[in-house]
Subunit: 306 residues, 2 copies
């Protein structure tokens, strides 16, 4: 089983409007609701790839119930979310039909009480022995200590379970120091961590800070990986138009899949790039286009970076 942790789960809501104008009133023509939060998205993609996944983290309130109801129908995915008194946050993506642009509104998430954080730590400790790998994903809700991921990484390492960390800011800085197996920052997150805007330098700097492998997502420029086996760059054969929402979560899912298979790094990157590009090409955010995935798996060739 692969374990994904989403401390700040979300009910992701997408609104379609004719044209978003500040200060105006808008009729929403379409409403789509999906369970969200990075680790939940990673879990859904892993389940779609045929893995057994357990998702944990927090869920509460009517929005938490909506998230859990929707997860219940996902084959291969086990819901081990810990109940909290506060309500799971909503994220609202407003899609402007005229421009195709998306405007995002993200609620902060519920306040987590110390006893709730304690209940999560117990649940996590109980799940680790059954996990082949664990992914720690996304932002921390209010009340969770900023060093939370560092503690979860140390617990996983003590249990002999490899860890991937995908977060930003101070939780990333503290987490890296606890020596996770893989981190997957984007260029901005990596620059904030290392102070360097040069992706190659920054990727190496992040390794020196404690990450065993660093896979940086560079948007349309693909992936750059610095690992104990070497450095590679993977790029798509052509620019792919589409919706990048969830592309990073798909890359994380592919990296986890390669991690538990103990695949060579170039193979992991090939899958991560193909799956991530296939997510950009899918009509709905957070899904992936299987044909694009298969096609790109044949065509992507990561190149060694000297």
């Amino acid at each position: 089983m692969i374990l994904t942790v989403t401390l700040n789960t979300a009910l992701d809501i997408t609104y379609r409007v004719r044209s978003l104008r500040p200060h105006a009133s808008h009729r929403v023509s379409e409403v789509i609701e999906r369970p969200g939060g990075k680790g939940v998205n990673v879990g859904r993609v892993l389940a779609a790839l045929g893995h057994e996944v357990t998702v944990t983290g927090f869920a509460g309130g009517g929005t938490g119930r909506a998230v859990r109801d929707r997860l219940a129908g996902t084959e291969g995915l086990t819901d081990a979310l810990v109940p909290v008194a506060g309500a799971t946050r909503r994220t609202i993506a407003v899609v402007d039909e005229r421009s195709g642009d998306t405007t995002q509104l993200n609620e902060p998430g519920p306040q987590i009480a110390p006893a709730e954080w304690g209940a999560f730590l117990d649940a996590y400790a109980g799940l680790l022995p059954g996990a082949e790998a664990v992914a720690l994903c996304g932002s921390l809700p209010p009340g969770v200590p900023v060093g939370a991921y560092a503690g979860l990484i140390r617990a996983a390492r003590s249990a002999g379970v490899p860890v991937l960390l995908d977060t930003s800011g101070e939780p990333l800085r503290r987490g890296v120091a606890a020596r996770p197996d893989v981190i997957k920052p984007n260029a901005d997150e990596l620059a904030e961590l290392t102070g360097s805007h040069d992706p190659l330098r920054a990727t190496e700097a992040a390794r020196r800070r404690g990450a065993h492998a660093v896979v940086t997502s560079l948007g349309p420029d693909g992936l750059l990986a610095a690992t104990p086996e070497g450095r590679w760059r993977a790029t798509a054969p052509a620019r792919l138009p589409g919706n990048p929402t969830g592309a990073g979560d798909s890359a994380v899912a592919a990296l986890l899949s390669g991690l538990v298979a103990d695949a060579p790094w170039p193979v992991r990157l090939r899958h991560a790039l193909a799956l991530s590009a296939a997510t950009v090409r899918a009509p709905a955010a957070g899904e992936f286009d299987r044909e694009t995935y298969r096609d790109l798996l044949d065509r992507v060739r990561p190149t060694a970076v000297p």
Copy 2:
């Protein structure tokens, strides 16, 4: 008991953001949730004024549950909402802290099945005999016949219960023909109904179409009423800055309160203007400032319009 009907109830959500920019991602700093829909708002104001109120209409899904949970704590207010399979809509008001402007996103509301509409008609027929007055408020959710309000008005008239109608567009046009006791359009709704942009002419034209009394809200220019007893205009002694959300619903509440007391029209208008202005002055949308209300009640003097 005063009965208010809200066929398209809502969970009203207010988000506070630093500055709303289309195509950007925003952290919401504050989330406020309130039960909404015009008739629900009218009911809350009536309950705050000491009236016994029953609210009916539809509620469903997690959002409907959130609406009902919050109504359960309102003293003087009885929840007679009819359950439906679809989810009660959300409305999102995004308040831009920098400009103070509000951007509104309104979901369309759940599809109402014919059997659900039938269940509502039964509930409404059962509630009418106990009502001193009924208010029919707001838009119609998908699936409810466009002539719905006309039928509800006829049923109320048959039961000897006076009716106030507050809606717009085709439901208003059809409703007016069924001869409601009072309608409360704003200037735009009245112009759409009558084709005239002159408020006085349009107000009289609406009476000829079937409304016994027409009270038009003119925003900061106050209220204009054409009734069987005469015509009046009521304006605030000074422009009051604030949030106009809910001001129209407060005017409706005051008009209903005056209707069941059989108060003279100038008294009803005095209350309607004072309560509506006190709502503009309240810090939270849909509440009213009691001091402003009392103060304006002393100072507002409706003037006869020849």
